[in-house]
């Protein structure tokens, strides 16, 4: 198990065949972001979620191939390898935040913008499912020009947090409430 993510020779461009291949993976297609975004915006939410989970599953599989036993990996290791795989897809730079017991994953420099947050959340859910076997719900906490934060929670916690967020509760307060309610 390599502790450091090594992207060397991760992509192979075959100009004779006109193909792009990822190492230990199949062919890739480089599409413009606008076209993809237009597709996602034209598709249903479930279609976008399903598309995104497929991307995440592919990233999770590649991380497991690199790490071997991902369930024993540390925070730093998972962040490094999963972020590397997502970076190879061109989805942005992955970050990890720990708010008490809450796990918050964020993307920065994402090319799709706010229209692609549902896709990004779906990618994370697919990666968690493929790598750790946990069904998670990525709740979008906030979004600004540079970064989008997703709370990785269960269904119940995601429901509460969604309601609080819908009520206009700040995302920090949502995290505090989730922590307090969880203890009492």
């Amino acid at each position: 198990m390599s502790l450091n993510f090594d992207p060397s020779y991760a992509l192979e461009f075959d100009f004779g065949r006109g193909q792009i291949r990822m190492a230990n993976a199949g062919e890739r297609v480089i599409v413009p972001c606008d076209a993809l975004l237009a597709l996602c915006q034209g598709a249903s939410e479930d279609a976008v979620r399903d598309f995104g989970r497929r991307l995440g599953t592919e990233a999770g599989r590649a991380m497991n191939d690199r790490l071997g036993e991902a369930w024993q990996a540390s925070l730093e290791t998972v962040l490094e390898h999963l972020g590397g795989e997502l970076a190879l897809m061109g989805l942005g730079s992955l970050s990890l935040e720990r708010w008490g017991q809450a796990l918050v994953l964020s993307f920065s420099h994402a090319p799709l913008g706010g229209a692609g947050d549902l896709l990004l959340g779906s990618v994370l859910e697919g990666a968690m499912q493929r790598s750790f076997g946990r069904d998670t719900v990525a709740i979008k906490l906030m979004r600004d020009d540079q970064k989008v934060r997703f709370l990785m929670a269960g269904r119940a916690g995601a429901h509460k947090a969604g309601n609080w967020l819908a009520e206009g509760v700040p995302w920090a307060e949502v995290l505090s409430r989730l922590a307090t309610r969880g203890v009492s």
């Binding site: 024993q72 990996a73 925070l75 008490g100 017991q101 809450a102 990785m152 929670a153 916690g157 922590a179």
Partner: protein, 448 residues
């Protein structure tokens, strides 16, 4: 045999018998006729220890060096002077009888003292060695007489010299008509070694003519005593520094005439004997009577001695009455045995079955044993325990008698209902080791 030869043999035997006796002065062995003799008349007193000043020869250098040190060129002090032949009277030996019959009060002044001999110059001291070095074999007692370093001719010889005389020499002697007592070795000396012209005794000779009979000797002695009473006799003890001898004061008398027996003892006893160590009255000087010791006189404390004993008024004041019968074998009860005998005493008491040995002292930390009688500590354990460890193990020790009327009062801490006594502040959750743990905790949020 000739009767004279018999007498001579008898004399020889006598001399040999006397020769076996120890003597103080060095006996002059038989010397060669040509050997010069440098003997001074024997000194009757022991010479004091002489400390040679710087630049002067010490006695050891003169006595034991085989050859004299080369004299310094400009100092003519020790120029030898031995061309003069020894007088005929000194060439022969003299016997002990001569010493015994010697006039105890010589008319001539006493011989030079040790310091005088050493300070006179020229003194033929060093020149003795070139002619005949001092041989320790000749020395019988290890002490060299001062006479060996004097330039005066010896006037008396000891009997050891006669021991060496052989019978042939004795037979060669002319027939003597004198009796044995009238024999004079001076006559032999005169006839054998020295011409008549050199037979004159030296001026320093103190020997007088031997009396023929006892009456004549007594008459001479009385006459000598009369002569001695009329003149002052100088002190024989030399002053610490060289110089003229101090005359006796007018109030002091001259020393008494030596006894013949003392002279004999002085001849027999060694020089460092008792006689030499005891100073004479003249040497001690004036006697001063010491005053009696001052201070309190020692007195017996009669009152202290009579306190613990019987008060016997009939006894004398300084007498002590022996203790009575009740004091025999008794002792004071409050006396403590010595620490080294305590263990043995305890073992003895245990063998006798006595239980009077006191137990060792108990500390408060030990659980007390059952006390048979008297005061005993009562321990009341606390029935209430608290969170404090020190309070839960604390005990109360009360010294109280075991009788009922003095029962201890029991004190107990009142009961307290259980309630939270501490509030813990939750600290931040520990950092999860793996990503899986954080994911699970995060999934659990909001699940109630």
């Amino acid at each position: 045999m000739n009767p004279e030869v018999d007498k001579l043999q008898e004399l020889l035997a006598r001399v040999q018998r006397n020769a076996a006796l120890p003597r103080t002065l060095v006996s002059a062995s038989l010397r060669q006729p040509s050997e010069p003799r440098h003997e001074a008349p024997p000194v009757a007193y022991a010479a004091p220890a002489y400390v040679a000043p710087v630049g002067e020869f010490t006695a050891e250098e003169m006595f034991f060096e085989s050859e004299p040190p080369p004299p310094p060129a400009p100092a003519p002090v020790y120029v030898p002077e031995f061309t003069r032949e020894a007088p005929a009277s000194a060439s022969l030996d003299s016997s002990v009888d001569d010493l015994l019959l010697e006039d105890p009060f010589p008319s001539a002044p006493p011989g030079p003292s040790y310091n005088d001999v050493l300070e006179e110059e020229p003194i033929p001291l060093v020149a003795v060695a070139p002619q005949r070095p001092l041989d320790h074999e000749d020395d019988v007692s290890g002490v060299v007489a001062i006479s060996e370093f004097a330039d005066e001719e010896p006037e008396e010889l000891l009997e050891d010299d006669i021991v060496e005389m052989t019978s042939a020499e004795a037979a060669a002697l002319p027939t003597a008509n004198n009796t044995l007592d009238e024999l004079s070795f001076d006559d032999l000396d005169d006839k054998h070694s020295a011409p008549p012209s050199e037979a004159e005794p030296p001026a320093s000779s103190s020997r007088s003519k031997i009396a023929g009979t006892m009456d004549e000797a007594l008459a001479r002695a009385a006459e000598q005593i009369q002569l001695e009473e009329g003149r002052e006799v100088p002190l024989k003890t030399p002053p610490p520094e060289s110089g003229p001898q101090a005359a006796l004061p007018a109030g002091l008398h001259a020393p008494l005439a030596p006894d013949i027996e003392e002279l004999l003892e002085a001849d027999i006893l060694p020089s460092g004997g008792v006689r030499a160590a005891v100073p004479t009255t003249e040497q001690l000087g004036q006697t001063i009577d010491l005053e009696e010791a001052r201070g309190p006189s020692l007195e017996l404390d009669h009152a202290l001695a009579s306190e613990g004993l019987h008060d016997d008024s009939s006894s004398e004041e300084l007498e002590v009455t022996l203790p009575g019968r009740e004091f025999g074998g008794g002792y004071q009860e409050d006396l403590m045995p010595p620490p080294e005998a305590r263990q043995e005493l305890d073992a003895h008491r245990q063998r006798l079955g006595e239980d009077s040995v006191p137990p060792p002292p108990e500390s408060l930390a030990q659980y007390p044993d059952a006390q048979p009688s008297g005061f005993a500590p009562v321990i009341v354990p606390a029935s209430v325990t608290t969170d404090s460890y020190s309070e839960s193990v604390s005990t109360v020790t009360v010294d109280a008698p075991s009788k009922a009327e003095f029962a201890p009062e029991l004190l107990a801490r009142p009961d307290v209902s259980p309630s939270p006594v501490a509030k813990f502040i939750r600290v931040e959750a520990p950092r999860p080791k793996t990503f899986m743990e954080l994911l699970d905790s995060s999934l659990a949020l909001g699940s109630d």
